[in-house]
Structures are given as structure tokens and as C-alpha cells.
């Protein structure tokens, strides 16, 4: 009996080893890289025309008070945001260049780090204008910096001298891959649990309150008041999706269903509220869950604990 129990533990640790350091789909990771890099590049290209209001001398938050708008719990240990408008323009240009390089797959890890640096610099400069896509992208850029993210679908592969040989991937890449998957589950879980504290979500009126908020929606959706049961059902579906996704997505039988429902949710948000960039930031992770199904796994050099 002891041998059986020890056998179970051994199987469990072997599973963990395979999960955290085994082969993963580098093609899926490369698609993720393109989606995130391209999404952020377009978002910040649009933002580039508004730098004066957002980060310049004429911004709501003066340079000297950039960190003062953050509660103590959120203050960074040191700051590296641009301190005058010339630096703002320079930092933003470098940010866009690094995102473009990342999207094209040129030295993916390096440019992910560079992009993360400038991305966080602007978060520190003016946190008041930050929204969901930018906060979530911090995580994705960090994990991309750890991963071999430009093995496929990279401009580098078009240049024979720069094309890398070998299947690629390493245990750090797998860890980053898994951390991205786990992070999206954490985001959905906390958001869903937090919604359970809200009376509007229990009564099914939360979606109506969003649709009725002209500041948030791109069109007048008040005609939907004729379908109250539908609205209430969609409200409850949102909570159920966010709470159960983190668990069900790990089961092959439910994975595709979860992803299809997630695409439906975020596509609805894009059409109703116009939050295109946030939707892409969240949906881009789904390709990592489908990596095993859509693509062949990489041949990693070996797991951390077992020999290759």
C-alpha cells in the first residue's frame, strides 16, 4: 500500500515536471507574440497623437506629482518615467519601435524586455489614464521576455543568416507559457468572484446598467429593454463564465467550449463598448490553450528534473 501511495506521488511529480518544463507549442506562442505586439503597437500609435494631454507638460498630472496619485500600496520602489516632453516623445518612439520589432519576431526576448521597460515607464507617468488592456499587457510582455517567442512566424526566418536552427524551446519558455495560461485564469477568477459581491450582478441588471451608460457604449442599446430576460441571462452568463473558465479550460472536453464562449463574450464587449484592444489582449491567450490541438509541440531540450 505504501508503494502504491508513493507511486501516486511519483506520478504526480512527473506530471508537474511535464506541465512546467515539458514541450509546448512554439507556434502558438509565436501567434500570441504577434497578437500582443501588433495590438499594442496599434494602440500606442493612436496614443502617440495625444501625448501632450496624457503625458506632457499640459497633462492633468504634472511630472512632479506622477507618483502622488498612486495610493501607497501601489507605489513603485523607484521611478523611471520620462520627466519632460522631449523624453516623453523619445520613450514613446522607442516603445513603438520595440513593439514593432517584437511583432515581427526580431530578437523577441530582447524587444519584449525593452517594450516592458517603456510600457511601465508610461504607467508610472500617469496612472489615471491607464485601462485594462495596458494593465494586462504588463504581464504578457513580462512573460514574453522569458519565452522563446520568435521561433516561428518571424521575419528573422526569412533571412538565412539570422534563421535559427533547431526545434527551439526550453524549460523557461514552458514556464512562461504556463504562467500566461494561469494568469488569465486568475484574472477571470478574481473578476468573477468580485462580481458576486455586487447586487446588480445577482439581480441580472448589471448588463443593463452598462448598456444604459452612454459614456461606455458606442451606440444606443436601450432598445434591448424589450428583452429583459435575455439581458439578465447574459448578465448571469458573464459571471458563470468568469468563475468556471479557470477550472474547465484545463479539461480537453470543455476547452473548446470555454474558448468559444470567451470569444463570444469579448466580441460582444468589442461591439457594444468598442473596447477592441482589451478584447484582443484577453482573447490572444486562447491560442495558447489551443496550441496542443492546432500545432505539434516543440521538442524541448529536456525537462528541468529529467534527462532528455
Amino acid at each position: 500500500m505504501i508503494a502504491a501511495v508513493l507511486g501516486q506521488f511519483s506520478d504526480f511529480f512527473r506530471y508537474l515536471d511535464r506541465f512546467w518544463t515539458g514541450p509546448v507549442s512554439l507556434k502558438a506562442l509565436s501567434i500570441f507574440r504577434i497578437l500582443i505586439g501588433g495590438n499594442l503597437f496599434i494602440l500606442y500609435s493612436i496614443r502617440h497623437f495625444d501625448l501632450k494631454f496624457l503625458f506632457g507638460d499640459e497633462a492633468v498630472v504634472p511630472y512632479s506629482m506622477s507618483l502622488d496619485i498612486l495610493p501607497p500600496f501601489y507605489k513603485p520602489p523607484f521611478a523611471f518615467f520620462p520627466e519632460n516632453f522631449a523624453q516623453v516623445e523619445l520613450f514613446h518612439t522607442f516603445l513603438m519601435i520595440s513593439l514593432l520589432m517584437l511583432t515581427l519576431g526580431l530578437f523577441g526576448r530582447f524587444f519584449a524586455i525593452v517594450a516592458l521597460f517603456f510600457h511601465v515607464a508610461f504607467l508610472q507617468r500617469n496612472y489615471a489614464i491607464v485601462y485594462g488592456a495596458e494593465i494586462v499587457s504588463c504581464y504578457w510582455l513580462f512573460f514574453l521576455a522569458l519565452a522563446d517567442n520568435s521561433r516561428y512566424y518571424s521575419v528573422r526566418n526569412l533571412i538565412p543568416r539570422l534563421k535559427r536552427k533547431g526545434a527551439g524551446g526550453d524549460w523557461l519558455t514552458t514556464m512562461a507559457y504556463r504562467l500566461i495560461q494561469i494568469q488569465i485564469c486568475i484574472i477571470y477568477a478574481y473578476t468573477g468572484w468580485e462580481k458576486l459581491r455586487g447586487n446588480d450582478w445577482w439581480t441580472g441588471e448589471a448588463l443593463w446598467l452598462v448598456l444604459g451608460n452612454e459614456q461606455l457604449v458606442v451606440a444606443n442599446w436601450s432598445f434591448l429593454k424589450s428583452f429583459p430576460v435575455l439581458l439578465a441571462s447574459m448578465t448571469h452568463f458573464t459571471i458563470l463564465f468568469e468563475i468556471y473558465f479557470p477550472v474547465l479550460v484545463w479539461f480537453k472536453k470543455w476547452r473548446l467550449v470555454c474558448i468559444i464562449l470567451g470569444i463570444g463574450l469579448h466580441t460582444g464587449i468589442i461591439f457594444v463598448m468598442g473596447l477592441f484592444f482589451f478584447g484582443v489582449t484577453m482573447m490572444s491567450v486562447y491560442v495558447l490553450f489551443l496550441g496542443d490541438t492546432l500545432f505539434q509541440k516543440s521538442q524541448n531540450e529536456g525537462s528541468l528534473f529529467a534527462s532528455s
Binding site: F73, I135, C138, K195, L216, S222
Partner: protein, 183 residues
């Protein structure tokens, strides 16, 4: 990843001195509250630029220069990044009187140097329940619910709010939103 979204938890309080510096450095410290616990109401801001004028009988009065809305109403069907950023700026500051006085109001003084006094009104509309709704939302007909109302002296050296300012919401932590009635 797991601890900091629940910032008030004992585990987070125990571990925060160790992990917070790293998390805040990378911008990882955030609570995931997308429309949670409930959708935030719309927040509107109207402001009035005033200038003190000397009357013929040597008394002083206040003349209104201009009335404006921030952010300007978006037009068109599609998403406007510029509008959304300004809206988020308003929402970040507008529910918190301290932020209004320290950041928001002085900003408007800077961009309107011609005004000596700015009157701010921050308000929201109560969206009717779905069952009692008319054919179409006409926002101007909805009941206004004042959140903050204050007169701000644009003294370049030390801008400050006058004592006549009223607040119907107490100082809040980031992300919280309660009225005195709901407590």
C-alpha cells in the same frame, strides 16, 4: 499574481513587504475588478469659467466667461481613444475630492489662465430600472445626482477650493464607490 488582487487578505498583508516592491516595479500590482462589484455609474463634469469684475459702484461680482463639458461628447459610432482616455481621467479623479483639488482643478486653471475662479459640478444620472424605462434614454431628462460641487480659486501659487464646496461622497479608496445613503 494570486495574493495582491486580494489586498486586504492577511496573507497579502504578511507578504507585502517582501513582494510589493517587485510587483509595483513591473506594474503587476493590480486588483482585477472589471465592472466589479458592479458597473460604475456614468460620471459627468460641467465647469464654468468665472472672472471677477469691478462694477461701476465699486463692488465686485463674478462674470461667467464660459460653460464647458469635459470630456466633450463623443460623436460617431465608433470607439474614440481620445475620448476614452479623457473619460478615464475624469473617472479616476472625479469621485475623489482630494484628487480633484490637488490635480484636476489645478489642471483646468492651467489651461484656462483667463479665469480666476472655476465652478465645478460632478454629477451622475440614475439609470432607471429596465421595467420602468421609456422608449429611449434622453439623458437630459434624467434626474441628476450631484457628487461634488465646488468653486475653485485659480490662485497660481496655491490653488484651493473655497469653503462653499459641498461633497456628498466621503474620501474613498481607489475603486470603491458608496454614497452616504448606502452605508
Amino acid at each position: 499574481m494570486v495574493l495582491v488582487p486580494n489586498e486586504k487578505a492577511i496573507q497579502t498583508r504578511v507578504a507585502q513587504n517582501l513582494i510589493l516592491p517587485y510587483l509595483n516595479l513591473f506594474g503587476f500590482n493590480t486588483h482585477w475588478r472589471f465592472f466589479s462589484p458592479g458597473p460604475m455609474p456614468a460620471l459627468y463634469m460641467e465647469y464654468q469659467l468665472n472672472k471677477e469684475v469691478q462694477n461701476e459702484d465699486s463692488t465686485q461680482s463674478v462674470d461667467m466667461i464660459q460653460e464647458r463639458i469635459f470630456p466633450k461628447k463623443k460623436g460617431g459610432l465608433f470607439y474614440s481613444s481620445s475620448y476614452i482616455r479623457r473619460l478615464y481621467t475624469l473617472r479616476h479623479h472625479g469621485f475623489n475630492r482630494e484628487r480633484i483639488e490637488n490635480f484636476f482643478a489645478p489642471y483646468f486653471c492651467r489651461i484656462h489662465p483667463e479665469s480666476e475662479n472655476i465652478h465645478f459640478e460632478f454629477f451622475t444620472y440614475k439609470i432607471p430600472r429596465i421595467e420602468s424605462f421609456e422608449e429611449k434614454i434622453v439623458y437630459e431628462d434624467l434626474e441628476r445626482k450631484m457628487i461634488h460641487e465646488l468653486n475653485f480659486q485659480c490662485d497660481l501659487e496655491a490653488p484651493k477650493a473655497s469653503e462653499e464646496g459641498k461633497t456628498q461622497y466621503r474620501f474613498l479608496d481607489e475603486g470603491d464607490f458608496k454614497t452616504e445613503d448606502e452605508e
